[in-house]
Amino acid sequence: MNGGSNMFTDVSVSGDGDVLVVRIDGADGRLVDHTAAVAAACDRAEDLDGKAIVVVQAAGAPAGARAGGLTVKLVSKWEQALRRLERLPAATIAVATGDCGGAALDALLVTDLRIAGESARLVLSTEGDLMWPGMSLYRLSRQLPAGVVRRAALFGGALTANEARDLHLVHEVSGDPSAALAAAVRRVAAGSGTELAVRRQLTSEAQSVGYEDALGVHLAACDRALRRAAAEATPA
């Protein structure tokens, strides 16, 4: 898998915006390579000014202990790349196949739309029975009911594709993930990634901010939407 597991591929799809594909193999513990692949995709997506769609092909789970040479500095760089992906001015779609853990799970959890193959499993435990205490634990805590995440965090385990869908960690389980991905790309291609990023941030902040603090930002976003609509209605 050397060199192949961390490929960032840039696929131009005429008329539908540009689809950028990042493959993250969770069995591969080299966070440096994963970080470079995600950063390259983010660079390209940001340069496409809202017209990109980023697809994360997430597969593989760590077989045992974490790779040697792992440091908190590398974990921090990886998290910076994930955070960039999480705030990207582009729709992001994950496709999980087979066992999906480690870095592959990290990447899946920052995406907007998630598709899982029927045999996919989200593998939560990576250190014996314990889950790695990185920011995926934080994201799971925001995305899952408290009881579920506590059990997962403390006792690890794996979720089947259907269980993950029932918990809304993935949004679709498909026997043909490629076809499901193509349909998802068609669905999101019409929207602007920059405007999606505005709405994504509003929904993210709504989980932790009170009404009074949220109001001003939502009004500013409404103003932005009205200005864009007016600009589109008036030919230059």
């Binding site: 591929t9 840039d10 001003g216 932005r224 200005r227």
Partner: protein, 374 residues
């Protein structure tokens, strides 16, 4: 077409290194100053006996907790005396000199240099008119060398700190090894009108008194930089001429005073133009927005901070100092962004190579930006 990138481009493009022959000016010290007395919004409403629920609501929803102000003298009956324009100008002169001198001294102490090192002084103020200007007053007050070069930036409003910085940084760059200082001193309690209109209520709920100063120097020719402050790389400006009258400070014949006006729509107008200015600033340096680690935006008011944040895709954390300075001081006009800059430095999180964007907004309507790198 399928294209595989084997060697991903670095996050910051190589064109952004700014390895020029002439070294850029560096910010080598910062200082701030306020007056002794500060008041909560509630205390001000009570002191001025403001009962109108609409006005109380404007104060309550300002995202400001406290402001430093010099309130008018009291009449015998305990009410505040009316300050006429002449008294307000005197008040501005006194406060601007006192706060400006304190901020200037603090910026030099931060840089580890003395008053005798100053070769260029730029003073920025909009809350009063002074002739001779604030530079002359501070040179006399502090005993700065009378041969010091100087410039006064007067009446440009809240954005003027970056207009002043542009001139100051360029002077420093053109004169390597010599110290240039910029002082922003605003006595907002000398620039108010009290009547029953919402126009004045909004203004009176917002501004506070304060001054800030920064010292700049470019490394002497052939020498190494002796300071670890950020280099001032480039500026981008924009004036929204469609919104020319939306923010103004002009004469009110009925009140016989200068009066400030803020159009309720102006925060959104500024927010809508923020992207194009910032993108111009960054594209000139070959940088993406994500490469900027530190954002220091003028604490103009809750609405404009929200609008800038949404339009630039910034998080609450990105603008923590902007909102923190607004909460603790109100809108300090031209020096406000330097209070945020000082708070950022006190966090001790900036690292060599980090990029920062400083952004101010004001009348015109104007957006000023500068790119710095540690």
């Amino acid at each position: 077409m399928t294209l595989t990138l084997n060697a991903p481009a670095p996050h910051a493009l190589s064109a952004a290194r700014h390895e020029t022959v002439v070294p850029d000016a560096q910010i080598i010290g910062v200082g701030t100053a306020v007056t002794d007395m500060s008041y909560t919004q509630q205390e001000l409403l009570d002191m001025f006996r403001i009962a109108d629920p609409k006005v109380r609501s404007v104060f309550g929803n300002s995202a400001i907790e406290r402001r430093h102000l010099t309130v008018p003298p009291l009449n015998a009956d305990g009410t505040f005396a009316e300050e006429r324009q002449g008294a307000l100008l005197q008040k501005h002169k006194k406060l601007a000199v006192e706060m400006g001198a304190d901020a200037l001294r603090a910026s030099l102490a931060d840089a580890g240099i003395t008053l005798s090192a100053i070769d260029y002084l730029c003073c920025v103020t909009s809350t009063g008119f002074l002739t001779p200007g604030l530079t002359a007053l501070l040179i006399r007050e502090l005993g700065i060398d009378p041969s010091c070069h100087r410039a006064d930036v007067v009446g440009m409003g809240c954005n003027a700190g970056l207009n002043g910085l542009n001139a100051t940084a360029n002077w420093a760059k053109a004169n390597p090894g010599r110290v240039a200082v910029m002082v922003c001193a605003e006595a907002c309690s000398a620039a108010y009108v009290m009547d029953s209109t919402m126009r004045t209520a909004v203004v009176n709920s917002l501004f506070g008194d304060g001054a800030a100063a920064i010292a700049l120097m470019a490394p002497a020719t052939g020498g190494e930089a002796a300071f670890d402050g950020p280099r001032v790389l480039s500026f981008a400006s924009h004036i929204i001429t469609d919104a020319f009258d939306a923010m103004r400070y002009d004469w009110d014949d009925e009140q016989n005073k200068f009066s400030f006006f803020l159009d309720p729509e102006i925060p959104y107008v500024v927010g809508a133009h923020a992207e194009q200015v910032v993108d111009r600033l960054l594209s000139g340096a070959g940088l993406r927005r994500g490469a900027v680690k530190h954002w220091l935006v003028h604490s103009g008011g809750k609405k404009v901070i929200d609008a800038v944040r949404v339009n630039l895709g910034l998080t609450r954390h990105d603008l923590r100092h902007t909102t923190g300075v607004l909460r603790d001081y109100g809108n300090l006009s031209s020096g406000s962004f330097l209070f945020s800059y000082q708070r950022l430095l006190r966090e001790r999180i900036v690292a060599p190579g980090d990029y920062g964007v400083l952004m101010t907004m004001g009348p015109g309507s104007t957006i000023e930006t500068v790119l710095v790198q540690w």
